[in-house]
Amino acid sequence: MRIAIPKGRLQNNTLALFAEAGYDTPTEADIASRRLVFARGGIEWIFVKDCDVPIYVEHGAADAGVAGLDQLLEHDSTAYQPVDLPFGRCRMMLIAAPGAPALEALTLPKIATKYPRIARTWLDSRGIRAEIIPLGGSVELAAVLNLTTHVIDLVETGETVRIHKLEMQEVVAEISARLIVGKDVYRTAPLAVRELVARVSAAALAAA
C-alpha cells in the first residue's frame, strides 16, 4: 500500500493523524534527508507537493493520500473521499478589491485565482460571465494592484485579506483536508483499504 503525504501546510497534521492511527510514519530525520520515498511498517510513504496528491492517486501511482478539497475539485479527482479530516479547514472565498462593485453589476469582471477550474464551474453555476486570470501565488496582489476587480482564494485566518483591506463577498466552497483512496484500489485491495479507512476515521474522531 503506497500513501501520498502532502508537503506544505497539511504535512504535519497528516503525519500526526497517521501516527495517531497507529502507523509507523517517517521521522523528522527521514523528512530532513530530502529523500521522497520511505518504506515503514509495510507502507510506502511518499512526500508529494499537496496539489499533486490527486494526480498520483488518479494515475494509480499512489493508492491513497491526504489532499485538500480545493485540490480535489481543481483536478476533478474521481477518487473516493472516505474520511473528512479535522484539519486544513478553510473557505474558498470571492474577495473583492476595496470598493469594487458586486460581481453581477460588472459587465466583464476579471478574476485572479489559483483555481481556474473551480472558478469557472462556480461562475457558470451563477450564470456570471468573467475573464479568469490564473496565477501561481499571493493572489490578493492582483486585487491590490487592481489588475482584477476580484480574486477567488483560500482564506484561513483572513489576515492577508485584512492587511490589504480587501472585502470577502461570498463563500465559494467550504474546504477541508480529506483522506482519498483510488477507485481501482477499493476494488483490487478491499481489505487493506477498509482497514486504512477504519483506523484513519477513528484517529480523525479522536483528534476532533
Partner: protein
C-alpha cells in the same frame, strides 16, 4: 511546422511489432467468443450524434463531434454498446432471441484532463440480447474471466448492482460515490461505506440475484459499494475487471435492460467490453 510531424494527440499508428501483438490477442479472444456461440457484427466508424444524445447513451464531452455536409451533427465512434443497440434493435425479431453477438474495433475518446493521453483504444466486446435472467449475467462474467485468464492476465473482477444506491435512498449515490455519508444517513449506507454490509442488507430480489451470481462465479467478488457518480445506461449487474499487476481497468460491463428500447426493440441485454492497449 513541426507540429504536423506528429499525430493528433493520443492517436497513433502501430508499427509491425505492436500490430502483430495486437492481432494475436484479438485472434485468441475472437476464437473463444466463436466457440461460445457469439456472432460478429461490424459497426460503422461514424454515426449521427443525435440518436445517442436523445437516448442519453453517450457523454458528448468525450466524443469527437462535427457538423457534416448535410448540416447534421456526426460523432466518431466512442462507445460500442449504444451503437450495437441502435444497429440491432430495428433488425431483431422476437424469434431471434436470445442473440449472442460480439464486435471489435477502435473507439476514440477525448480526455481533456490528460494532455496527450491515448484517445484511440482497441476494444473487443460481446453481448447476450434477450435474456434478462441471472443465467445470462453469470455467462457474461464467466466469459470475461476465462478470456482474461486465457490472455495470461490474472484478473480481479468485482461486481455489484448498478441500481443499488437508488434502491436504498434517492441521495445515496452521492454518498456512496464519494464514500462519505453525513451522520444522519441510513445505517445501511454507513455499513456499505465501511464495507461491513452484506447482501442481507439489500432488497431480497437484488440480494438473491447477487448471491446466485457470486456462487456461480467464485473468482468474482461482490463490492456492494462500488458506485460511480452516474449510473449511465446500466440497470442491473455492473462489473469491472482489473489486471492484478498494473491495477488498470482491462474490461468492464454489465446489464442494460432499457437501452434497446430507446432504439425501438424492448429487449434486455448484458455484455462486456475488453480494452486492449
Amino acid at each position: 511546422m513541426g507540429k504536423k510531424l506528429r499525430y493528433p494527440i493520443g492517436v497513433r499508428p502501430l508499427l509491425i511489432a505492436e500490430s502483430a501483438r495486437r492481432r494475436r490477442v484479438e485472434a485468441r479472444i475472437v476464437s473463444i467468443l466463436d466457440r461460445a456461440g457469439f456472432d460478429e457484427v461490424i459497426l460503422p466508424i461514424i454515426d449521427y450524434a443525435e440518436p445517442y444524445a436523445a437516448a442519453g447513451a453517450i457523454d458528448s464531452s468525450q466524443t469527437y463531434r462535427f457538423v457534416d455536409r448535410d448540416g447534421d451533427l456526426v460523432a466518431v465512434r466512442s462507445d460500442f454498446t449504444p451503437m450495437v443497440a441502435r444497429a440491432l434493435a430495428p433488425a431483431i425479431a422476437p424469434g431471434d432471441l436470445p442473440l449472442r453477438v460480439f464486435y471489435r474495433g477502435d473507439v476514440i475518446r477525448y480526455r481533456p484532463s490528460r494532455l496527450g493521453a491515448n484517445r484511440e483504444m482497441f476494444q473487443i466486446g460481446a453481448e447476450i440480447i434477450g435474456d434478462g435472467s441471472e443465467k445470462a449475467d453469470i455467462e457474461v462474467l464467466s466469459s470475461v474471466s476465462s478470456i482474461l485468464r486465457e490472455l495470461g492476465t490474472n484478473p480481479i473482477i468485482v461486481f455489484t448492482d448498478a441500481t443499488l444506491p437508488e434502491r436504498i435512498d434517492p441521495v445515496a449515490r452521492e454518498w456512496l460515490a464519494t464514500k462519505r455519508a453525513p451522520a444522519g444517513a441510513p445505517e445501511v449506507v454507513k455499513r456499505l461505506i465501511a464495507g461491513t454490509a452484506t447482501t442481507g442488507d439489500l432488497p431480497h430480489d437484488m440480494a438473491d440475484r447477487l448471491d446466485a451470481i457470486s456462487r456461480a462465479c467464485p473468482d468474482c467478488a461482490i463490492h456492494l459499494d462500488d458506485v460511480d457518480r452516474a449510473r449511465g445506461y446500466y440497470t442491473g449487474l455492473r462489473f469491472h475487471a482489473y489486471d492484478r499487476a498494473s491495477r488498470s481497468t482491462i474490461a468492464q460491463g454489465g446489464r442494460y435492460d432499457d437501452l434497446y428500447e430507446k432504439f425501438g426493440a424492448s429487449a434486455p441485454a448484458v455484455g462486456f467490453t475488453i480494452t486492449c492497449e
